[in-house]
């Protein structure tokens, strides 16, 4: 499902003394089955942008087209919005705050049920989603409120996965998790991508961007200032987007400058660098 954002404006609290223009003419395109990142400082409009993608916010001006769903401030049919939300689901920052049911499985099945699955179907989807986030049967009947932070986050993400969206938008899914938990969540996201879903990742973690994203969009003060691959971004960036270049990338770049034949574009994580060094040693 391709996404097209066309000259998008969004203003919070228009015509009041505290009105803020969060988005000022953003135009971008995201292809089907892609893994892309949205970057930018706090307050640059990232969250606003993703919320317009499934019509949680209606654009002040301009439009968003997800497949053939059009979101603009002109006409919006509620039934269509619900369909859209089934196809494009957002995992918000700290999603553990959205849990409310008595048992984990009920909570995970909640979204699926809302989108029209029968009770049985919804529970099947819920169990499937829970297993895929690494929570086994012993968790199904427990209360979500007695779980640890990382487990709650997984339950919340499972709740979105059970909806079976085509496009998954994640707003800082690793924020506040320990390194192991963060790695688990990200490998789960990668698996979702491999299953054919599009992933849109909002993050501040440049290591994740380097490792996973095929394409990144950088927002600054509500405008799109960069569009391209992570390696392009890290090569070009001279800290004008206040982006921190991943250490791995800096290291690989240094090696390259010292004469090692390293293909910067192919470096996603430490293993890639090791492999390239091995190749060079063998040759």
């Amino acid at each position: 499902m391709p996404i097209k954002v066309n000259n998008l404006f969004y203003t919070y609290l228009p015509k009041s003394p505290i009105q803020t223009e969060a988005l000022r003419g953003v135009t971008l395109g995201i292809e089907s089955h892609s893994f892309c990142g949205i970057l930018g400082q706090t307050g640059s409009g990232k969250s606003t942008l993703i919320q317009t993608l499934n019509a949680l916010l209606i654009p002040t001006k301009g439009d968003v087209r997800v497949d053939d769903f059009l979101i603009s401030n002109k006409k919006n049919k509620n039934k269509k919005i619900k369909q859209l939300r089934k196809h494009l689901a957002i995992v918000f920052q700290f999603p553990e705050y959205q849990l409310f049911e008595e048992t984990v499985e009920k909570d995970v099945a909640f979204g699926a049920k809302n989108f029209g699955a029968s009770k049985e179907e919804a529970f099947n989807k819920a169990h499937h989603a829970l297993i895929s986030v690494g929570l086994d049967e012993s968790y199904f009947k427990r209360s979500p409120f007695e779980l640890s932070g990382g487990e709650k986050r997984r339950v919340a993400i499972a709740g979105i996965l059970a909806i079976e969206p085509d496009i998954l938008v994640l707003d800082e899914p690793t924020a506040g998790l320990d390194p192991k938990g963060a790695a688990d969540i990200m490998s789960l996201v990668e698996e979702m991508y491999n299953q054919g879903k599009s992933i849109i990742l909002v993050t501040h973690d440049m290591d994740l961007v380097l490792k996973y994203c095929q394409k990144v969009f950088v927002l600054k003060e509500g405008q799109l200032v960069f569009e391209g691959t992570p390696s392009d971004l890290f090569r070009d960036v001279e800290s004008n987007f206040s982006i921190e270049i991943p250490l791995l990338f800096q290291y690989a770049n240094k090696l390259k400058n010292h004469g090692l034949p390293i293909d910067i574009n192919r470096i996603k994580d430490t293993q890639d660098l090791i492999n390239q060094i091995k190749e060079w040693k063998q040759s």
Binding site: L56, A89, Q98, L99, F100, F115, G159, I160, I163
Partner: protein, 295 residues
């Protein structure tokens, strides 16, 4: 969401915004008392209410209170207004016998007086509403609580926990916007999970509200615990003597506002007392315009 923003503080810098909150509190309360003065003759009462309405509207304009917020709060009042009119018009009242009859419903007389009386009550509500709107949208909630604390401080002598109450109120007020943001956030998260807060049958809506309220309570309780811990860590002691970061000041403008309002209220009270002791009450229309409206 917008309806909750009603009467929220708007950060302009007008004359009313700059007034001392203690002064504003006092003046608003005394004006409210004056609104309740009912003269013996209805036309006089209505005329005075009209004058208050005009003055309050001017005050609204000066304070840059949005008229839109007034209109949207009136929207919630129309049912009440119909109810008041129905009660006053339909329930028999011996005070009306002998006055002008508007019409009969199957031999049951409907008096003009009943309409005037209900109109007056609705007008009174409107006046109170405008006053509250002006007060809350020109005064920061924090300043209001400080003002309240100041009024309660003499009660400290009899061990009344004035500071604790003010602290509780100000914390509660402080967290209203935070909880509203939280509500918006949870609503969005649940909408993403297919919850529809605006449509659907009773049961579905009930479920939708549950999915909002439980996470909201969970986070509110967590927040309160965090806040309590943070206060304890900083050694908060409610009994300790403390100073304020914001010092409320009574300025020259306050003095003018105070004197003007007190003079106005004084004038009204004098007229009211005169009205009450005179035999037939003051008929302003007869005195000034030489006409008798007849009610």
């Amino acid at each position: 969401m917008n309806s909750i923003a009603l009467g929220r503080y708007t950060p302009y810098n007008t004359f009313t915004h700059r007034l001392d909150p203690r002064n504003k509190l006092f003046l608003v309360i005394s004006l409210m008392v004056v609104i309740f003065f009912q003269f013996k003759i209805m036309s006089t009462t209505l005329l005075f209410s009209g004058i208050y309405l005009l003055l309050f509207l001017i005050l609204m304009l000066v304070s840059r209170v949005s008229f839109l917020s007034l209109i949207s709060s009136l929207r919630g009042m129309w049912f009440l207004a119909i109810f008041v009119v129905a009660v006053y018009v339909l329930i028999p009242n011996s005070n009306y016998t002998g006055t002008a009859v508007a019409f009969y419903i199957a031999d049951y007389p409907i008096y003009w007086q009943a309409f005037y009386q209900s109109g007056y009550i609705i007008l009174r509500l409107l006046l109170m509403l405008i006053l509250m709107l002006i007060l809350t949208s020109t005064t920061k909630p924090m300043d209001l609580t400080f003002g309240l604390e100041w009024y309660m401080s003499p009660l400290k002598l009899i061990r009344f926990p004035a500071h604790e109450i003010a602290m509780t109120i100000s914390i509660a007020l402080r967290f209203i916007p935070t909880l509203l943001d939280e509500t918006a956030r949870i609503m969005k998260a649940q909408s993403s999970r297919g919850v529809d807060f605006n449509h659907g049958g009773l049961f579905k809506r009930f479920k939708a509200i549950i999915s909002l309220i439980i996470p909201l309570f969970v986070s509110a309780i967590e927040r309160s615990e965090e806040l309590a811990n943070a206060m304890q860590v900083r050694g908060y002691n409610p009994r300790a003597k403390r100073t304020h970061f914001h010092i409320l000041r009574f300025r020259v403008a306050d003095l003018f506002a105070f004197l003007f309002t007190i003079l106005f209220i004084g004038g009204i009270i004098t007229l009211f007392v005169f009205d009450q002791i005179s035999a037939g009450g003051i008929n302003v229309f007869e005195i000034i315009f030489k006409i008798n409206p007849g009610f």
